[in-house]
Each structure stands twice: as C-alpha cells, then as structure tokens.
Amino acid sequence: MADKSLQGLRVVEFTDELGSYCGRLLADLGAEVVKVEPPGGGRERHTPPFYHTVAPGPDTSLAFWVHNTSKKSVVLDLESVRGQAQARALALSADVVLEDNPVGYMAAHALGYESLRLERPALVYTSITGFGQTGPHARYAYSDIVGQAMAGVMTLAGEPADPPNMIYGQQANVSASIQAAQATLLAVLHAEATGEGQLVDVSAQEAQSMNQETAMQQWDLQKTNRKRTGEKGALPLPLPGLGVYPTTDGYVMCFVIAPAGAGFPVLVDWMREKGMADDLDDEPYKDVCENLNFGFFTQVASDPVRGAAVIPHLAHVNQLVTAFFASMTATEAYEEGQRRLLLHGIVSTPKDLAENAQLRARNWFAQLEFDYLNAVIEFPGAPYRLSETPVQIGRPPRLGEHTDEVFASLTRAAGGRTK
C-alpha cells in the first residue's frame, strides 16, 4: 500500500458542521481522525439531503458524509462524568485535538487546552469558532450565514435590488476549515520538530476576510466600499459577449471581450458558420464587431461622438449573440467555445459536474463502498493529487461505529504503558 503523508498522526475531533471539513482534509491525507460525537449525533448528521433508499437518519446524511470521509466515530456523552473521563483519555492520546464548540465549552468539560497541555505538552489544539477565542464577540452565536455576513462577503454578492446573497455550500464553515487545516499542519510541523505544542485559534470571520477580493484594499486605499452589482456587474449597459447567456438546457458565462483568449470576431465567425450572424457583416455592425473589447468600449464610452456612433448598435449585436447561445446546449457553448479559444465557462449544474468530460477522463470521482447500505456510492474526488502519497477517501463512519474498537485499543495502550 502506498505511503500516506499524514501517516501516524492521530487527531481527535469534537466538531460539527463548522470544523468537520477540516478533519476530513486531514483524514483523507492519512491521519487517523477519531470523531467524538454526542449520543444521537450532532446537527450535521441530521441535515438533508439523505441517501434515498432508506429512512433518513444519522447514518445517511449526505451533508455529514461529504465532510466526514475517512474518519472513525465514537459516541460519548460529555455531560456524564464517565463520558468526560473517556473523552479526556482519548484527547490525551492524540497529536492533534480539533474542536469547533462555543468558547468555554471544552474547558467546562475538562477538555480545555490549558488543562490538556499540562499532561501533553506536544499537543496541537485547534479551535475553530465563528469569531475566535478572544475579543468582544468571542461568545457570539454563530452560524454559516452569520459568518458570511460578518466577514464582508455577502455584501458583494447579489442584485442591488435584492438582499445580499449567501454563497452556497456552507462556505464560511469551509473557509474556516481549510484555514484551520493549513494552520494545524504548520503547528504539527513545529511540534514534530521541537516537541512543543500550541493552541491554534481560527475565527471563521477572519478565515474568510481574503474572500473580499479587493474590497478591503479599496476601503483602505480609496475610502469607498465595493457593493454588490448583480448581473450587470460594474458596467453601465450589457455588452455583447460578456456575462451569462441562456442556452437550450442551462447557461454559459462569457468573457469574450476580456483581454485574454480569442476576441469577438472569432465568436462572429462561429455565428456565421451556423448561419446566425445575420447582418453583423454589414455596417454599422461590422465595424463594432471587429473592434469590440473592453478597451474599445472604454474609449468610445468616454468620447461622446464615437459613443453615439457605437453604443446604440450594441443592443442589436447582443440580441444576435443571445439568440446564438439560445440555439445550443450549455456544454456545446462551453466546449466548442473553448476549442475556439473563446473565454467561456459553463454554468455547471450538479449533473453537468457529474458528467464533466474532464473530471471523468481524469477518473476524479471516488467509489466508496457502503457495506451497511449494500451500495457503492460515487463521491466527488480529492482537491489534489500527491504523487508519492496519494489521497485515499474512505467511507464516512456510522454514528459510534468505532466506539468499542477505539476504546479497546486505548485500554491496551494504557495497559502497555503500566507494564
């Protein structure tokens, strides 16, 4: 069997939906990740969608599955004295403790960093919370949408006439988990080199700040806020070859007039081949089509005379472009457009992604065997490929599946030490 990059690293996690993806990243890279769960399981185990062939339950939540592959699960009641003692013994067997509970919860359950480090100084202890361990909002109630709002990300998304938009996929949680995985590995490298552990404090709000793109710098340097601009973007009017176009079965996103890839004339060539260029080869449209790009538009927009000669014709050109894309599938607009070096991106639906020719050709998807469901279920694959230490995605655990196994080996290890 191939070596794993995080082989021999033992992680004990006390996480629900905020931090579970962090544990998943470490587990898929080969760390032994033991998830400690409350009786009945946490919120993520009860979040839809569920696997369709059996009744919904903690062992069939896809929301849980996609953030908890390759882990082991033990169930402990941290509200009981016995459960707390077992959890503490487990935490003290770990190289890394990972948790995403409200500030103060772990310490109140004999699992705080300050008390564990006394017995295990090399321990890396990663806490992921909405707002971090310190500061006036440290104890604020957190959820993913609250995190996206407070981090300046939602204000940039959506139509100005609508409420700001949340990004799909628990992205505040995902950002926090990714930053936490990165920081945890930095602390692990340090601990393995020096024997010195530490506390890693991850705030979901801070973890997302970089997702503001340029908004932070725009405020800092120019003292104005970026705001959401919706479908039109920052442009004063729709430009042909730019933006989202409906197709027969979906949408394609076009950046034909951006300063990369083939230009607008190549799109017109394609339209002509399909007999859909109509009057674009006649003036006044011919001249517009031959020159159309961002730079050209910026020039004419700032020159009233040329503006008057060009801008009124853009709507007609755009109508033809719209009709052209409406005549084909999204996949054709994407793949044939890219073949012609046009900067096109398919607006992928989940089905498009499952059928994506590139992902399929690369054998990206993972096949996971769910013995208890009598099924092999396909999963999205790993974010990266490591040539010497391939990522291996294992089936997510059933609730409490490894409780006996984990405690039996813990007892054996304790016995071994006392001999």
Binding site: M166, Q182, V188, E192, L221, E231, V347, S348, L353
Partner: protein, 418 residues
Amino acid sequence: MTKLPLDGIRVADFSWFGAGPIGAQTLATFGAEVIRIESEAKLDSLRLAGPFALNPDGTPKSSYNVSGYFNNFNAGKLSMQLNLNVERGQEIAYRLIENSDIFLTNFTPRVVDKWNLRYEQLAAINPRLIAAYAPMQGLEGPHRDFLGFGAVLTPVTGISQMSGFRNRPPFGIGTNYPDYVINPGHSCVAILAALRYRNRTGKGQCVELPQVESVVNALGTAVADYLANGTVQTRTGNRNPVASPHGALPCTSDPESVGSTDRWIAIACYDEAQWRALCDVLGATELSGEARFATFAARKANEDELESTLGVLTAAWNAEELMAALQAKDVPAGVVQNAQDMLDRDPHMKARGYYQFLDHPETGLAAYDGPSAVLSVTPGRHRSPAPLLGEHTLDVCQRIIGLDMDEIATLLAEGVLV
C-alpha cells in the same frame, strides 16, 4: 525569538494572479523565504489592476507597485525578475529551483511545458523538491488547455448555479471567489502534508491541484446528491434546510457606509427558542405563536411571508443594535458588514488585530490581510510589505544563485533579468 514552522524553507514562487500567490504568501507568513519570479515580458496582471493607492490629489498612482490587489497577496516575499522566454532565463530558474525546497506554479500546462518546468525535469535537478502545480483544469485531460481564471472557475465549478435567488440567472457571487481561500488553502494543505512526508522520508513529490477539482470538493452536497440520489439541486437563495427564518433582512440605512448605504442583518433560527427570542426582541411576541409560523414546518411552508413580515419589523432597527439585542438572547445574528466595517468599525476585528498595517515605499502605510489563524507559540506575520517589481533580483542572483556582478550585468544586458 521563537522559530517559525517554515524557517529555513525556500519557496520558488512561479505563480501569478490570486490562487498561487496567496498560498505562497501563507508559507512566507510562517517563516519560509519566498522568491516570487516575475517578468515585465509577462507581467502579473494584478500589478495593473486596481484598487490603486491614491495621490494626494485623489488620482490613482501609476506604477507597477501600487496595486492593493497585487500587494495583499504578496507580502513578505522577495521579487526577482526573470524572463523565462529566453533559454538563459530557464537556466537561472533551474539554479534557483535546485536551491529551493518548494516550487509552486499556477501557469497553464502549455506554459509549464514551454518553459521546461515539468515535474520530471525539476525532480531530475532536485529530487527533494516538492513541486506544486495548480492549473485550472489539471495537467492532463481533454480540457487541460481550456482558458480560464477565477471568473470562469466560479460558474464551471457550480458555485454560480447554486448561489443566489431562484428568480435570477446564475450570474455569480460578485467576486472570483475560489481564488482567495479554497484554492490557495488547499494548495498549502497539500504542500505542508508533502513537507511532513519529506521530513520523514527525505523524498520530494509532485502535488497537482486542479482548481476545478479543489472547488468541487468543497461544494457541499450538490454533486454528491446527484451522484448518490440522482437529484439535481439548484440555488435556494439565503435559505437553509434546517433553519427558519434564515436569511438577510433589511435594517435602517447607514449614511456613513461610503458608497454602500443599505444595511442588512443575517439571522438564523435553528430551534424554537431562537425563534421565540427573535420575536420577543422584535417586539412581536405574538408572532411566534401564530399558526402560520408556530412550528418549523409551518415557517418553512410560509417562508416568503415569514421573511416579508419580519423584514417590516427589522427595517425599523439599526443593524448593530439589533445584532447586539439578538446575540444577548443567543440568536445567531450578524450585520452584513462591508470592508469599512471589517477594517475600521467592527470592534471585535480591531481588538483581535487581524489586519496588519505595513509601510510600503510607494503606497505608504497600507492594510494587509493577516495570518488566517492565531498560533499561540509560532504566530505568523508579514515580515515586509509586498516587494517592488524586481526589488530583490540582485540579492537573489548573488546570495542564492551564486552569480557574480559581471555575470549579472551580462544577464541584464541580454534581457534575461527583466
């Protein structure tokens, strides 16, 4: 001073735009020496993209070194100019890579080939090298040479289709979102894991991070639901299957938010206690018991009406005051903040000191995103602001590549170090 986790690690950063440079910046923050390779022959477009620092008269400064977009992703690095379109440039690149621990690029596979930067070529000169490639579609496959950048990645990976309101087309989320945390974060995770493996075995390896694969891995249940159940999910705006109400509601506008005066609060009620507390705070205790909203199922069935009813009430509130009142009752609630809030007004962000302010020779004092986590023993930090283009060419040539001044002069004259 405490050792940082990556002290003594050298990174040859052949990346550009967002996803690559941010990952390398993280490595620099935690101790690595990162040498960013740049060339005027193929300039990183972010050096030419705003927002720019302003002159005293309010006009934007004009230089390769004043973009806030570029600078925020490149703090703490050295900048070396090297023209890889000439053979001598590739030789110098090899000498740098020979003396590096990590190589990172997000150039397209076509460019990697053209500049002879493929893994087997680099491993031949430095078998301990960790070489990380982050092209959009991957190094192989039928779409390998597809064009793209963050704005294309967002639709291709499903984020556009799955985000926003149903009655709107899937136009995206206002930024090139995957570039800033998902891709660079995943890159760092893989590189650090490879570094741990190298510490144990002495072996380097090739890390491939196709940006599409990185993002789809982090896309929640959308693709998994289709694969497992044949269900094609679509966007559902600000809603959540296990919370209601769940969304952004209007508050009184804020004339002091420059350029973005509308004000919203995000609220999420996951249980009945939170729902009742919300109604109490809004002074509408009776609402929580009305049949149309009294249970989770009823609120889900009448969610449009729920949101418009609540919106009328929240619209009378100042967003910060409502947040404080709701948080006092443990209701998850947060102002939809803007960058002005993040930098200047959020007392919590201020108290934690997340942003780092660095004095840059051309922009003056400017804010940078700080380390993405607080490590108690080895806190990362930017040791310097973003480098000027080519600021360290001479230093790197002499100190790391071992060239003397005559050789350097020749390379300058031949257009290699440009």
